[in-house]
């Protein structure tokens, strides 16, 4: 895809920036901490590389911002949108979902229909299966709980693409460093 290489470049740029931030700090970190920092910087770099065009990237960044220790990193990496916009977007997202749920509930009361003669039983079962799986998917994709069934698929699509980009880049970097060593 045309934008995957673009995304890769963006991601690498920001990730290296984030890593520099950590390297500049003289603290000695053990294995786990280092791993966490690297992963975090990679995640934030990826999310910001998307320019917050998608819901999941916003979710990642807002989650990272909640933790006080990360503000430096986040601000440096994102430096695109103000905190206000993030909060506003998340709030509106939740409000939209909540009002939609209320509306659906009120409509569902009038539309309640009894299952007919078992002819819809396989349909009901299939629907339930799909619903279960969409719930699992919602938990996986960051920021996915506040989305309806339709947009979660779109988000998952985008998230999957970005994850693949991230994995590719990291793998290449790993190979490069091991070869150097």
């Amino acid at each position: 895809m045309h934008n995957s290489s673009q995304l890769k470049n963006e991601f690498i740029k920001r990730w290296v920036q984030g890593l520099h931030l950590y390297c500049s700090s003289k603290k000695e970190m053990n294995l786990l901490e280092r791993k966490k920092k690297i992963k975090l910087s990679a995640d934030i770099a990826l999310a910001s590389a998307r320019n917050s065009a998608t819901c999941w990237s916003k979710a990642i960044i807002s989650k990272a911002k909640k933790d006080e220790g990360n503000t430096n990193l986040v601000n440096n990496l994102s430096r695109l949108e103000s905190k206000l916009m993030y909060a506003h977007k998340k709030v509106t997202c939740h409000k939209r979902i909540r009002s939609k749920k209320i509306l659906m509930r009120s409509c569902g009361v009038g539309k309640k229909m009894k299952p007919r003669h078992g002819s819809n039983l396989p349909t009901c079962v299939a629907k339930r299966l799909v619903k279960k799986r969409t719930q699992v998917l919602k938990r996986l994709v960051p920021g996915g709980e506040s989305m309806d069934e339709y947009s979660i698929i779109k988000e998952a699509l985008d998230y999957m693409l970005s994850l693949r980009v991230q994995v590719d880049v990291m793998k290449n970097l790993v190979n490069a460093t091991t070869n150097l060593n």
Partner: protein, 385 residues
């Protein structure tokens, strides 16, 4: 003409179906007459309703329509006729009428069957039937001839409430009267859910012909929206299917399963790779989730994975052997990273590769969730099936 009425009254006595309810006869009568127009009958329905014996075959449709719209008062005989028609439809396996003839008999019976179906359906779904007078009232002269609009709304509402007997009856009717549209409509009725999901948007058929909207051509806005939504979801699922490697499933639920597994796999890979960036002791390992891929969710959730992961890393820092023992105690095993990568990306695992341990041909899709990390020794962890 007169004997036709007598015939109908005779049938009335023999009606078997007692559950024909007299309801909404006002708009039903208009509906019926409207329907008869579609059949291009020459019969004077108004005369019939008033129990007169004279027919005026030359009356024009427009005059009729005006008379109908100016407030019709149906009589009880109308519903009886409908019941009779229903009984007739039930009794006779072979249809006594032929559409091509367009005689009074055929038009009447077909209209009766329609009314019967709609009556019985409307009895159980009063909401939709209440909408109909509004539709009728708002429709002008020409609008009334858009049969399939009303048909669509009718059948979308009544589809779920039709019993099988009525469906059978209707099928007999439709096979004769409507041909292909009716057949598709019947299939729609049978398969449509209670909601108006059965139909979609589409162009109405020509006016003056009450044809049931074809499947995929209903013009009810709800069904159109529903159909659009379903189509969008389907196309998104297709796009997702192309992204996820090694999947050939078309079913929505299993497609979602694959997507979930792949996302988990990618997330774990990121975690592992972030560990491997570290210099120092033996890189990192990650435990894979259950390799069967058939369970509803992963048996190991993220917490246990992290715990195992951390434990193994600690052990590896001290001594490789203890790490391996720990892993084997958990039912995990090691394999070369190149092999794991090949397996995860290729469709079939290489048969001739050097395998350091038996891992019994697991599936080569992301379901396997092998996460490998380049480490000093080039080992990785994988669930043994």
């Amino acid at each position: 003409m007169v004997n036709f009425i007598c015939w109908l009254l005779v049938y009335q006595k023999h009606q078997r179906k007692k559950n024909i309810l007299v309801l909404f006869v006002g708009f039903f009568s208009t509906f019926l007459i409207f329907f008869t127009f579609s059949q291009e009958s020459q019969m004077s329905l108004q005369d019939l309703r008033n129990d007169t014996t004279s027919f005026d075959p030359t009356v024009t449709h427009d005059d009729f329509l005006n008379q109908l719209l100016s407030g019709l008062q149906p009589t009880v005989s109308w519903s009886d006729i409908s019941a009779a028609g229903a009984g007739d439809g039930q009794n006779k396996p072979t249809l006594p009428w032929d559409v091509d003839h367009f005689d009074d008999h055929s038009a009447f019976l077909s209209s009766k069957l329609r009314q019967h179906q709609i009556t019985a359906a409307g009895a159980s779904n009063t909401l939709k039937s209440l909408q109909l007078p509004r539709d009728f009232a708002s429709a002008g002269d020409t609008a009334l001839f858009q049969n399939d609009v009303i048909d669509g709304s009718f059948f979308n509402g009544f589809a779920g409430s039709l019993t099988s007997g009525q469906i059978q009856q209707f099928r007999n009717l439709s096979a004769q009267n409507f041909g292909a549209p009716g057949a598709t409509a019947v299939s729609q009725v049978q398969t449509a859910s209670a909601t108006a999901g059965g139909g979609g948007g589409g162009t109405p058929s020509q006016p003056r012909q009450r044809v049931r909207a074809r499947r995929g051509q209903a013009t009810d806005p709800h069904s159109i929206a529903e159909r659009l939504r379903r189509e969008r979801i389907a196309e998104r699922m297709k796009a997702l299917q192309e992204l996820v490697p090694n999947t050939n499933k078309t079913d929505k639920a299993s497609m979602l399963d694959d997507i979930i597994d792949y996302v988990k796999f990618l997330q774990l890979q990121v975690k592992v790779l972030s560990m491997s960036r570290l210099r120092g002791a033996a890189g990192a390992t990650v435990a894979a989730k259950g390799g069967d891929g058939g369970g509803p969710a992963s048996s190991l959730n993220n917490d246990t994975t992290t715990v195992t992961e951390n434990q193994v890393v600690k052990l590896m820092e001290e001594d490789m052997g203890s790490a391996m023992q720990y892993l084997q105690g958990k039912g995990l095993c090691l394999m070369p990273i190149s092999l794991a990568t090949t397996i995860s990306t290729a469709r079939c695992h290489p048969s001739g590769s050097r395998i350091n341990h038996p891992f019994g041909g697991g599936p080569c899709s992301p379901n396997m969730s092998v996460l490998t990390v380049q480490s000093a020794n080039g080992v990785c962890v994988k669930d043994s099936p």
